[in-house]
Amino acid sequence: MTLDREPTVIARTVVRLVVPLILVTAIALLFQGHNLPGGGFIAGVLTVTAFALIYIIFGLDYLETELLDRNPGVRYETESGIVREYGLVFALGLAVAAGSGIAAMALGFPFLTQGVVFLKGLPIYHELEVASALAFDLGVYAVVVGALLTILAEVGAE
């Protein structure tokens, strides 16, 4: 799914600058989701957008060669290569989401009961609200990122 011609320097530079910004925004959205607009799903989709930019501008193999520092696996091979890692991501996400529900069961509450803990006397924050729903949201985030990236990589490889 790389472009037929080499992308311009402008595009490359902009993407280099923008992708970290998008990722940070996505993570911010994930963590503030409890009290402000945001949440696991939207953060996940935003993260995927960042990756999609990388794919388009730098090509499919860029992630593997530059970031993971290894040779990209054979295309179309689902048993290995980065698709396998994406698969791990969404499998882990499902496990985290379901596990957060089972944890509630282990404590004697119905499946997926969420609780909130207020931590006091912390430096800087003074008081921090920690919701157990965040764990569930992390699961959602991971599933969305893993699944969409899998689709993107598989379809993009066509």
Binding site: V45, A52, G101, G115, V116, A131, A133, A147, I151
Partner: protein, 798 residues
Amino acid sequence: MLPFLGAALAPLAYRVLGEQTAYFAALVAAACLALVASLFGTHGTVVVPWIPSYGVSLAFYVDGLALLIGTLASGVGVLVFTYSGGYMHGEPGQAKYYATLLAFMGSMLGVAFAADLIALFVFWELTSVSSFLLIGHYQDADASQYAARKSMLITVAGGLFMLVGFLLLHVVATSVPGVESAFRLAGEGSIIANAEPMVNALRAQGLFVPVLLLVGIGAATKSAQVPFHIWLPNAMEAPTPVSAFLHSATMVKAGVYLVGRFRPLLLTDEWTLVFGVLGLATMTVTAILAVAASDIKELLAYSTASHLGLIVAGYGMGKYLGAETGAFHILNHALFKAALFLVAGIVAHEAGTRAIDELGGLAEDLPITAGITVVAALGMAGLPPFNGFYSKEFLFHAVYETAAYAVAHGGSPLWWLLPAVAVFGSVFTFLYSIRFLMLFFGEKPDALGEVHAPPLAMTIPAAVLGVLALVVGLGGVTATFGVHLEPLEQFVGSVMESSLAHGGEGEHHAFEYYLPTKVTPWLIMSAVTIGVGAVAYPFYDRIRDAIRAVRGVDPLRPNWYYDGVTEGLDRSSAIDVIQTGNLRTYATALSLALAGLALGAYAAAGVTIPAITYAGLEPALVVVLFVAVVGAVAVAAAPSHISGVLTLSILGFMVAIFYILGSAPDLALTQLVIETLVLVIFLLVLDKLPAFYGTPDRLRAARDALVAGAVGLTVAVTVLLSTAQTPDDVIAQYFVANGGVPAEHGPIFYDAGGGGNIVNVILVDFRAFDTLGEISVVAMAALSVITLIAMRERGEIQ
């Protein structure tokens, strides 16, 4: 349940242990066996609520019958896993194999102990599914696929019949006063504990015979009774340990178990007729087919069906010894047949062939195996003093008494057919048993290469089963001289009691068995069987050829019907019309169906479209909506794909702005990001497509316009209707009240959401279960993409 945990851990264990996983699995099975053994002598019910709103629970009931099946499942399980360690050496897919086999064992234990109709059904179907996976273990072989599909179709379809029967029972049970829990099968306040009022209520509603037949079909498909026996011989495509485990000792016993379990409830004259005839017909037909078999596993498969027929026939007999026959033969058959399957596996593994004609004189090379075979095969033949003799003697006794009783009470002389058929079928049983035994004796064919000695892991399990069979057989000999095998007799007695009808049947006495000491009609029946069998054996080949000739006639073969139906469905022209493979067709069908159903429902409910009010329509909204409409028109008029997609995204972004104006920032944010992503993906795909397809012809354009119009109309009407009806907003108020941080709260609380973003709190807290379902769907979509693309690359799509 332990085995399911074991199944989940099996792939992990495989990574650590490699081929030693067999022994890990055997350990799990041994733990189950110990658990089951610890239940011996106990009696009762354990209830865990499952779906309380429907009164469905995960109830487990312990009695003799359940313990017998449970012991078989876990005990034979231990042996089979050990055996697999030798047999599966170097075979592919071992992690999957052990995981499925353990899961199967768990479901089988579930079937044995389940005391709730729904739970029983679920475990029942689980055994079908795991059996499907195990039969199809060699995924690439056509024969495996065919066999797996066939067994799945037949047993699952039978299970559905059974489910209907269960539901009918449940409906009737709700109106019977003594029944406290209408789904409970056994135990206090259950259906079986109130058998008499249940039968009366069933009869009053005319449902007795339907329930009997439905449950009977379930049992018959699972236990491979005629004419559903056809899946069992094909199932021999599975690895041999699987055949030994599923298709001799456990899964096929599930149907028999069902018959034994329902016997106290449904035992009547109809019962005797249905199951007596079914059992004896199966016993005879499949025994004849076994003689015609050319492969040792095929022979054993048909003989399994035949012996299951014997058990069913035993349970069918009401007046005398029926329950004894069933209970005792379940045990005996499991012992000798599992042993024989393991022997067959050893033979196939070491001699390299399973064809009967190519084998012979194996005793020289496999002396221990030959010894096991002598015990097991003679037991199968029903020769005294081996174990099969006693239960066969019970059957002869039971059918004789039943027939005599029926005729004495004015029944037609046709009842005498029962004992006659029983003897006739047993002659063939004798024939094929001896044929199997003769694999080990006589001349060794020259074509047979060198036969190696099997590994210990394979010999020991078979030997254990053989010794047990021998002990049961010798118990009868010692009992003749007054020394009874007490634990065994007590155990079988308790199994028998589970199947005894309330109010007693005939003479009720403790279970015991021994060699006959005086001449009786049923002893003569046994003698005739053995005598005729011995006389006929020299003509075995001729008999076999004759049977094969008859078997060749198509309309006599159930397989012919099965293949005809499945192939007919496969090739029918309906598929070409419905499955065009054209995305446009599917989209049209889906959209029209959706619109039609929704509009039809509105019309049926007689709703009126409310008047449209324009209150609260701000100028900004009007502008946004106007741009959106312009965008929509532009999409339809777009000259190329690229411009179409770009104008479509105008529409999308306008919707996002609309959300912002409607003070829904979360929605707007999501819409924006999704819109961007979709646009990117669209552009990527479009890069590969032709820029434009050309002008569609008028007919097609008109059809598309119709579909689009119908969908648009449906959506518009739905929006109008759903926004006009403003309920009292109970749930929204609840969310608002409980979504935020309560005014007074401790450091930890869990009864409120505690979040400022109510949308997100709903998503991850109040409605977390829905979200869990949604992300599962997302993950599933990704998996499908992987599978589709990977499969296409491997060229598996035809």
